[in-house]
Amino acid sequence: MYSERISLILSKAQAKEGDRIRLETERGTFEGILMPRPDTGNSNVIVIKRDDGYNVGVEFSDKCIVKKLGSRSGEFSFPKYEARGNRSLPGISMIYTGGTIGSKVDYVTGGVYMLTKPEELLYEVPEIYEMADLRIRNLMSIASEDMTYKEWASIAETVASELNDGSSGIVITHGTDTMHYTAAALSFMLKDLNATVAITGAQRSSDRGSSDAFVNLVRSFQVAAGSDIAEVGICMHAGSSDGKNYFIRGTKARKMHTSRRDAFKPVNSTPICTIDEGGKLEYISEYRHKEHGRGKVKAVTGFEPKVALIKTHPNSDPGIIEYYMGKGYRGIILEGTGLGHVPSSPSIKDLSWLSNVKRAVDAGIVVGVTSQCIYGRVNDKVYRNLRLLKEAGGIHCEDMMPEVAYVKLGFLLGNYKSEEARKMLAVNIAGEITERSVADFDLV
């Protein structure tokens, strides 16, 4: 935003952002398009886009003269790809939810914004129309950090209705930050799923030629249209190179890097399959196959928002549990240390979590225990303190990741009574718990 002073001067000159202006200063004359003020920096500096495309910032002084030369020529819009139906191809629905994959720069204003029309994104990847009879569902356009259980429910319902309406596979475009939470939520919510649901996104926005969006989209369609996997999974880059994608089970994927293309890794699991440059699928691990006559998919979308995910650490105050009890929470997932420890007999007695956990459990709250190690399985026997936590009522959640345990407990409490939820928490429903801990030397 420009300062009040500048805004006033600009409005006197009737110059709006996007208009062509001339700025006469003591240091020379600048001509070009008036740009909006970036959020940072000096708000008395006017930004002008020159004819060679460069922006330049000129500080406004009393001796400057602003003149409007012309109005903004029309609204900026991206070209769109006109969908052509091809009934001989598998019917795939693309559910658009926003995120970096749909982020573009408005070249006139310079701001990044989310495309509201998926056709604008598909303009860059017309080959998708050669792979699938595409149906586009423009569900929402939000950043994934803003996703809530309401959006999860809405996505799950859309997936169910699309599939029950005849689509044979689903591609969901999604922001990457919380993609793995959504993937877990859909894994639990979609009952009797009999199709591939591929969630994909991008770590580089699609306004750049190097964006991973294009390859991720194409390969998501390849797996959605060409596999017999009846599961929800994340389809993103397998490495920094564009050569290969992973399709990772929705309850076993986690974003492990802030910015790299291959941020998503399978945890305590291997990818279900890889998809290579030529679109070839290579199956790596066991998965749920599609079956004839499985019937319709149901979206079971109940979710209890009053579930907390708490990380314990040296000096952490167990009083946080009282806080959540006071707020009426029904579930807590503890992200403990190592094999699933919480501080149990520290030298400062008040920092022991055991009695607080016990109080919570006694009050009917379901308390699950996971590990901040992320990789590996928790255990309730190896050390005395682990046994004490179990005695206090903590449920060790096997090889489930903390975030998945959180989503699962919210799902269970949203659809079942607390007592049932307690029993189901450490039992596999959607691939979130595996019996065997297979050695994988590449991924950890």
Binding site: V45, G53, Y54, F78, S210, S241
Partner: protein
């Protein structure tokens, strides 16, 4: 050589874009080393790039052209000189302030104004030379000027930007780049279209390079400065030429380019009113069953095709010479090559050298429906590649009517001519770098930088006092070793004339012997001169030590020791002389032939 009058008569206009890598420790937007030395390769990544819609929803012509080529890019990742930022795997870090200061110094040298706030932009690049598919660039100076041989040359814009990556190999549709260079800060200085002759272009480039070197802006080393030249003549279009290897031949290349542009306009003039049009592409493979030519047989043997197309109205013109040994057909061929074929065959060349006899030619003409006054073009290769190649060839052939085509061209340094590289980019390829914040530049700060500027006359004066040799001074001023001369003489106290002689003469000699003394590390070179200044080695031995290219001070001592290069002087020298004395006579030449590297001639003379 043509005179200034000639260039005036044809309306010659020329402007330069000088790209100079800045002498900074780190890269522009990350903390990787900006030194250009190769380090250890730790991995490779492979990427594709797409032509994305740019400003106003349009795809820039140069971007679209690249996008059509569907190439795969391989990037070599190096341990010390590349990181996730360079790989397009992490947002940029803060702008390197050292680079900004050097960039502003360049602005001050060129008397340019600077913006109150510098805005970082993305310039779309899809030839793969940047893994992010754009180059970060910012305008840091405007309305500057420069005097060259008494004439004012305008410097409308100065930019601070990232270097691209270096191309290491190319095969079919795969290009290999190294990431050690990408992101190194460089300053781009654009002149106005004020230059009126090839000689003036060369002089302007030299002078800008000199001023940057004098002021410590310039990174040393081959390729650290590049000149792009924009040329047009009256009635034509602007053409940008990249890839000048040296300033030596810049004027000759420009002269040849002017010839080419004039010839193209002559052709266009003759084609007025003629309808030039490409026909449809026809598969001619079965016409070649009996052809004995190796190339065609090889392509067909591998399952490839020979495809052809008629170009109506262009008969006779493809063979017209536009540069020595180059025809309009060569221009068309250069376009076709971008699709990945080796070249074209066309109706204005001797087709019998491909084994295509008159009978086959007649048959081809029939298939392509070639009439009197038409030309045809053929390409051999994999079907899709051949089709792409012909599409590009038709595009260029149809532009024959337009005369000069706006293009970015590359210097062919073997022939001192230019060749097509890609269409000239338009304005649709700049947009704001949303990952970087604007940078305020205070007037006071810029004024402070301006105070430290070194001008040519000051330097000349100082050097004349130090070297007392006008010729040597001029050589040194124009040399890339000037900064080292100052550093070494100031830090080691070594004799100024010896330092100048080693950096200019001895380095040149070594370079002729196939050794690259210019890449020797600054600190190591200083150590060598320190040994000389303290009397540990002789003048003559300096070159010998440099020749061994030591990597550290320890190596310097070892080379001196192993090579028996220690200086013999004082009492030791007296003793040595007495050993050589025969009947009271000392043979100077005998001593020098054995101890030439160890004894300073002057000392020997004074003792004898």
């Amino acid at each position: 050589m043509r005179d200034a009058e000639y260039y005036k008569s044809i309306g010659f206009r020329c402007g330069l874009e000088i790209h100079q890598r800045l002498d900074t420790k780190e890269k522009l937007f990350c903390s990787c080393s900006a030194g250009i030395a190769k380090d250890k390769e730790i991995g490779r990544v492979e990427r594709f790039q797409r032509a994305v819609a740019g400003e106003l929803g349009l795809v820039d012509p140069s971007t679209k052209f690249e996008g059509m080529r569907h190439r795969k890019f391989v990037y070599k990742v190096y341990e010390m000189s590349s990181c996730l930022v360079d790989m397009d795997e992490e947002p940029p870090h803060n702008l390197n302030r050292e680079a900004l200061a050097l960039g502003l110094k360049a602005c001050a040298v060129l008397k340019a104004g600077v913006p109150d706030e510098v805005e970082v932009m993305r310039k779309v690049v899809v030839d793969g030379s940047d893994p992010s598919a754009f180059q970060r660039s910012m305008m840091i100076g405007f309305n500057g000027e420069l005097e060259v041989d008494g004439k004012r040359i305008a410097i409308p814009s100065i930019f601070l930007e990232e270097e691209s990556s270096s191309i290491e190999g190319r095969m079919d549709n795969v290009v290999v780049y190294g990431l050690e260079r990408i992101g190194v800060p460089l300053v781009e200085i654009d002149t106005g279209p004020d230059i009126r002759s090839p000689q003036e272009a060369k002089n302007t480039a030299m002078r800008i390079g000199l001023l940057l070197r004098l002021n410590g802006c310039a990174q040393r080393g081959i390729g650290s400065i590049r000149q792009d030249v924009n040329i047009s003549v009256r009635g034509g279009k602007r053409v940008e030429i990249k890839g000048f290897q040296s300033l030596e031949t810049m004027d000759i290349v420009i002269e040849n380019e002017v010839d080419r542009q004039i010839k193209l306009m002559e052709i266009a003039n003759e084609l007025k009113g003629v309808d030039i049009k490409g026909g449809s592409i026809v598969d001619l493979s079965n016409e070649f069953s009996g052809v004995g030519n190796g190339m065609i047989n090889e392509v067909l043997g591998k399952g490839g095709r020979v495809m052809g197309v008629r170009i109506s109205g262009l008969g006779g013109f493809l063979g017209r010479e536009i540069n020595e040994g180059r025809r309009l057909g060569s221009e068309v061929s250069d376009y076709a090559k971008m699709a990945g074929v080796n070249g074209i065959m066309h109706s204005d060349e001797d087709l019998s050298r491909y084994g295509i006899d008159a009978a086959i030619q007649t048959s081809i003409k029939k298939r392509l429906e070639v009439k009197e006054g038409d030309a045809f073009v053929m390409v051999a290769g994999e079907e899709k590649t051949a089709r792409n190649a012909l599409t590009l060839a038709i595009g260029r052939a149809e532009m024959a009517k337009e005369g000069v085509v706006p293009e970015t061209r590359n210097v062919d340094s073997k022939k001192d001519i230019t060749r097509f590289m890609r269409p000239l980019p338009g304005g649709s390829r700049m947009y704001p770098e949303t990952d970087a914040v604007p940078i305020g530049v205070e007037g006071r700060y810029y004024a402070e930088i301006g105070k430290g500027i070194v001008w040519e006359d000051q330097v000349r004066e100082r050097l004349i006092a130090e070297l007392n040799n006008v010729q040597l001074v001029e050589q040194l001023i124009w040399s890339r070793e000037l900064q080292r001369y100052f550093r070494i003489t100031e830090r080691t106290g070594a004799d100024t004339r010896v330092v100048a002689d080693v950096l200019l003469e001895k380095f040149r000699e070594l370079s002729r012997q196939g050794i690259d003394p210019y890449s020797i590390d600054d600190a190591v070179l200083e150590d060598i001169f320190r040994r000389f200044a303290s009397g540990k080695i002789t003048k003559k031995a300096i070159k010998e030590v440099v020749k061994a290219m030591p990597k550290s001070a320890k190596d310097v001592d070892e080379i001196i020791k192993k090579g028996n290069l220690e200086r013999i002087s004082g009492e030791k020298l007296r003793r040595l002389i007495s050993e050589f004395a025969k009947d009271g006579e000392v043979s100077r030449s005998e001593i020098m032939s054995r101890y030439g590297f160890n004894i300073e001639g002057e000392e020997l003379n004074s003792i004898i």
